[in-house]
């Protein structure tokens, strides 16, 4: 864990506890803020007004939504597996929260620096598939089952190019620790040296979050609600929460792996090394937050701009285009790196 300790007067608080607390709260709030942001941006794109009644500018809308969901009736369909039906919505929320532990939010501002952080992140991300698939399986509804199967096939398909894109980042960093990956981008962002990998990773992050143009899993027009057709009340609310948390995590991962994490572009050239530690902390966290906000915006922007793919197109994009491309990208980068060092 992070060895640094912050001393305020007589108090000595370990930095990892502070980052953990702040990170958890920002993760949970990000979902609420993103729901509001998504509805307002969608309204803007479609030339509507959007939610503007609850509180100033409709800012309290997410709170009202949560309250409404809590007060609804919780229904489990007949012949469904009751236990699986209850466990399924918890899995995506838990796995989404787990990824906060290894992400550096600024120089020295991380919870823990494990030497297999990338593997940990990929493992936690792939556990999220279980939630969606089990939900489809346990509901005993045909729409749910189709949605769950589609989710499983789609999410495992896009995990492969994503893993290869991350592997090409590791080639350049030589470490599986996210802190090292963030630190190695102080001069050149990985996007500048590996743009193809960045594009592949962004597309896969979109597919993993199961949103338009990859929302085959829900696809209202063909599957009613997809895997959550039979979910109501807060059980549905947790899938909803998890979806927005995955958007947030997707943005964080894009930022960390390819867009310089908490570094400004070419920061080595003009950021003095002996900067005041508090000033540096504030600068790092604000740069990181701004980048994450930008990518969250892109997620919403894409959702309301691009129509849904057909399922054969999704599979063709994943297996026949992105996977060979990412493998070739990896091989080319490995060859260049090997013979220039």
């Amino acid at each position: 864990m992070n060895p640094a300790i912050l001393e305020i007067g007589p108090l000595a608080i370990p930095v990892w506890a502070i980052v953990l607390g702040v990170g958890m709260i920002s993760y949970l709030n990000s979902a609420a803020i993103l729901v509001y942001a998504e509805r307002r941006i969608a309204a803007f794109i479609q030339n509507r007004v959007g939610p503007n009644r609850v509180g100033p500018f409709g800012l309290l809308q997410p709170l009202a939504d949560v309250l409404k969901l809590l007060l609804k009736e919780d229904v489990t369909p007949t012949h469904g597996y009751k236990k699986l039906h209850a466990i399924a919505p918890m899995i995506p929320v838990i796995t989404a929260l787990l990824s906060v532990a290894v992400i550096p939010f600024g120089a020295g501002l991380y919870v823990t620096d494990i030497n297999a952080a990338v593997l940990y992140l990929l493992a936690v991300a792939s556990l999220g598939v279980y939630g969606v698939t089990l939900a489809g399986w346990a509901s005993n509804s045909k729409y749910s089952l189709l949605g769950g199967l589609r989710a499983a096939a789609q999410m495992i398909s896009y995990e492969l190019p994503m893993g290869m894109a991350v592997a090409s980042v590791i080639l350049m960093t030589g470490s599986l620790s996210l802190v090292d990956i963030a630190e190695s981008q102080s001069m050149w962002w990985n996007f500048f040296v590996n743009p193809l990998g960045a594009v592949i990773f962004i597309i896969c992050a979109f597919a993993e979050s199961n949103r338009t143009p990859f929302d085959l899993v829900e696809a209202e027009q063909e599957l009613v609600g997809g895997f959550h057709t039979e979910y109501s009340s807060m059980k549905f609310g947790m899938f909803f929460l998890a979806e927005y948390m995955h958007v947030f995590i997707g943005s964080i991962l894009i930022t960390t792996f390819f867009f310089g994490s908490y570094h400004l572009p070419f920061a080595d050239l003009y950021i003095p090394a002996d900067m005041n530690i508090w000033l540096k902390g504030i600068l790092d966290v604000s740069v990181f937050t701004l980048k994450v906000c930008f990518w969250c915006f892109v997620f919403i922007w894409v959702r309301w701009t691009i129509p849904r793919f057909k399922y054969n197109q999704v599979m063709k994009l994943g297996w026949a285009r992105l996977l060979p491309l990412s493998i070739i990208n990896f091989m080319v980068i490995a060859t260049i790196m090997y013979f220039t060092n």
Binding site: L97, V118, L171, P324, M331, T335, Y338
Partner: protein
């Protein structure tokens, strides 16, 4: 070494408690008045026909099988990618050969149409 995993344990605890809390809150606060038609699985307003867990397309199984092969490839690549500069030319060449073989395998399965979901051209 292992104590760096301690915060993850705490985090997992908090996450599980939070998820359980949300579940029980809706159970306590919401009403519960079930009836036969409410508990029926949704099938566009009709009475459901048969069980939902029927046989489904073999393509889903094929995707899962292919996934295992290529996911193992990625797992093999990661440790090599961390230390490849120190491991010498022999390791580098054998890794490239390994990846090339798998790439050829992928192109072969694509050519065979195993991962083809297009109904017009699908041969399986």
């Amino acid at each position: 070494m292992l104590d760096s995993y301690f915060p993850i344990l705490i985090l997992a605890g908090i996450a599980i408690v939070l998820a359980l809390l949300l579940m029980t809150l809706s159970r306590i606060l919401g009403p519960y008045r079930p009836n036969k038609h409410k508990l029926n699985p949704y099938e566009s307003g009709m009475d459901p026909v048969g069980e939902a867990r029927e046989r489904y397309s073999i393509s889903f199984y094929l995707v899962a099988m292919e996934f295992i092969v290529f996911d193992l490839e990625v797992v093999f690549i990661y440790p090599w990618a961390v230390r490849y500069l120190d491991l010498g030319l022999g390791t580098f060449i054998s890794m490239m050969v390994f990846i090339t073989i798998l790439l050829i395998g992928l192109l072969y399965t694509l050519k065979k149409g195993t991962l083809d979901w297009d109904l017009k051209t699908n041969k399986i």
